[in-house]
Amino acid sequence: MKKIVSVTVALCLIFSLAACGGSSGAADAKRLTLNVYNWGEYISDGSEDSMNVIKEFEAWYQENYGTAVHVNYDTYASNEDMYAKLKSGAVSYDVVIPSDYMIARMVDEDMLLPLNWENIPNSEYISDDFRSLYYDPDDVYSIPYTYGIVGIIYDANVVDEEDAVGWDLMWNPKYAGNILQFNNPRDAFGTAMYKRGIDVNTTDPADWQAALDELTAQRPIIKSWVMDEIYNLMESGEAAIGAYYAGDYFIMLDAQADSVDLRFYYPEPTNYFVDAMCIPSSCQNKELAEAFINYMLSEEPAIANAEYIYYASPNRLVYESEDYIEEMGEEAMEILYPDLESFQDAYNTYAYRNLDRETLDLLSTLWETLKVS
């Protein structure tokens, strides 16, 4: 009896807590539903005084179209997770935001629908630098959302300035036990291949083997294989060297311990990526999806997202906005929007492309060999 009473009391307490926020998501007869699938923490969601883009979209749509919309916003932690879910046909989504190589794969496998540009007039604000990229050469299936460049983050209190050059820093035995490497095959092999000047999209097994040799040589001096752990590790000074995306450097900078002095630089060559908005073929309401995409490209949401995510935006309305430039600050603008002769050239040369089945299998086998040693 007591237990039942106490359990009920607990549930009431917790339910009242949950009831403070959280909509029920019950379907309303006249209400439309939009299913969005995006990376985690990849939209301005109202935390820390930022704009809640989802809620604003629902309000905006209601105002301009007179119908209520409920957005189901689900997140994933990697392109492969998202792909596996969509491929299996288990769930349907209306908008999805994959990375370049994944978009190429999905186009190949007919998993995306062509976008109707008439419904997305704001697409004109995307800089010309982002037209005709390799994964969508005719600009049919996608419109860029964010982009970025991989760089090396290091603790100036541990690393000597003259060593902070190129990819070699990550292989420097002087800093053994202080180095972090990507815990996913593509990115890890990528660092080795950029270091050696090998094409990251090669199909030559000898090239991949050479990259494996590099990584095997690096193994003993690595502190940890990381994905999100890198934030903790670099902020606390647990590790002094790691490669990650430019925007994330600023997040770490914000939270670094007093004893840590984080700096950033781009080695040459390095990885460029673009994440773009697409509509999967399982979409249930294409026009609504396009309205959402168009909304995301408009000024206020685009700036809010760019400020929240801290990655570079390909949208003119963002990087030309004085408020945004002021908010980001000089250092951030310099690092996030480096002066490149031609973004397209750099991008098309160095970005990851979708590899064929054989090469992917080879990669996964080599990765396992590396991990098992």
Partner: protein
């Protein structure tokens, strides 16, 4: 109604209560297994093949041992052996830590027992991802334990990224599952048996050895089952606390699934399942009791 008929009618009604579960079990436990088997024995175009199974046993890698000698190993067998090793160590530690603890709780007063058992379960309600992050904060080289040691002018311990850290994390997650079944059995152990043993002249350790331990065996078996198996397939803990240096069978399945090699992932899963079912059947034959007969 005579006694037997009454007994029979009760039994019949109670057996009928089994129906919903039987249907459920067939649909949601047995049928999915066929899906695993189906995927394990087919290739991408869904034609029958044993290639996936063969791949598990024959893939080899060249690894370089500490002495710098290259050696060819069977990749997945090695991964499985490593996962098993960590799981066994964790299970043994859980037993060593949990058994005396369960005994001590069972000897406490009724109210204290309830409180302590609930307290043991509380960590399980904290999300396990969060718990693992908290352990990172504790075990890191610049973490709290080392800061504390530094304050006492003691040398720092390198804990994170070692097998030890992974074991600490695993034991932490699974300890309550070892304590609860053992405690359950000990709590309902007849006090009179222990008193009788004392009366007959047994020393305390003798009582423990001859009365308590044998009687608590069903709980121990339950506990081991609930700890050993999940810990073989754990992957999150080894990534976070092991600094990604320990590639376990759970990692392998996950990475094959992520690489869209669903058939091979299913093959690994299938082999794993067969091994476990065989082990369970063996255990049943040896101990002569059904796994849940003694339980809690």
């Amino acid at each position: 109604m005579n006694r037997k008929a009454r007994g029979d009618s009760i039994a019949a009604v109670q057996r009928a209560a089994l129906a919903p579960y039987t249907v459920w079990a067939v649909v949601f436990i047995v049928v999915p297994l066929f899906f695993i088997a189906y995927y394990a024995f087919t290739d991408d175009s869904f034609r029958f093949t044993t290639a996936n199974i063969v791949r598990f046993f024959t893939t080899t890698s060249e690894v370089v041992t500490e002495k710098g000698i290259p050696r060819e190993v069977r990749t997945y067998l090695l991964i499985f052996a490593r996962s098993l090793k960590l799981a066994v160590i964790s299970t043994i530690l859980c037993l060593l830590l949990g058994y005396p603890f369960a005994y001590l709780i069972s000897r406490a007063g009724a109210r204290a027992q309830k409180t302590m058992i609930t307290l043991v379960m509380v960590p399980m309600w904290m999300n396990f991802l969060i718990r693992t992050y908290a352990w990172m904060t504790l075990l890191q080289d610049t973490g709290l334990i080392n800061s504390f040691l530094g304050m006492l002018h003691l040398p720092a311990l390198h804990m994170i990224g070692t097998e030890g850290a992974v074991v600490v994390g695993m034991v932490y997650d699974y300890l309550p599952y070892m304590i609860l079944p053992i405690y359950s059995v000990m709590a309902k152990m007849d006090e009179k048996l222990i008193e009788a043993a004392h009366d007959l002249g047994c020393s305390s350790s003798g009582v423990l050895r001859r009365v308590v331990v044998p009687l608590s065996m069903p709980g121990v078996v339950s506990g081991i089952t609930m700890v050993l198996v999940p810990s073989i397939s754990t992957f999150y803990i080894s990534q976070k606390l092991g600094n990604g240096k320990f590639y376990l069978i759970g990692d392998a399945i996950e990475s094959q699934y992520t690489a869209n090699n669903l058939h091979f992932a299913a093959a690994i899963a299938f082999i794993f399942m067969i091994v476990l079912l065989a082990a369970m059947a063996l255990m049943r034959k040896l101990t002569g009791r059904r796994v849940y007969e003694g339980g809690m």
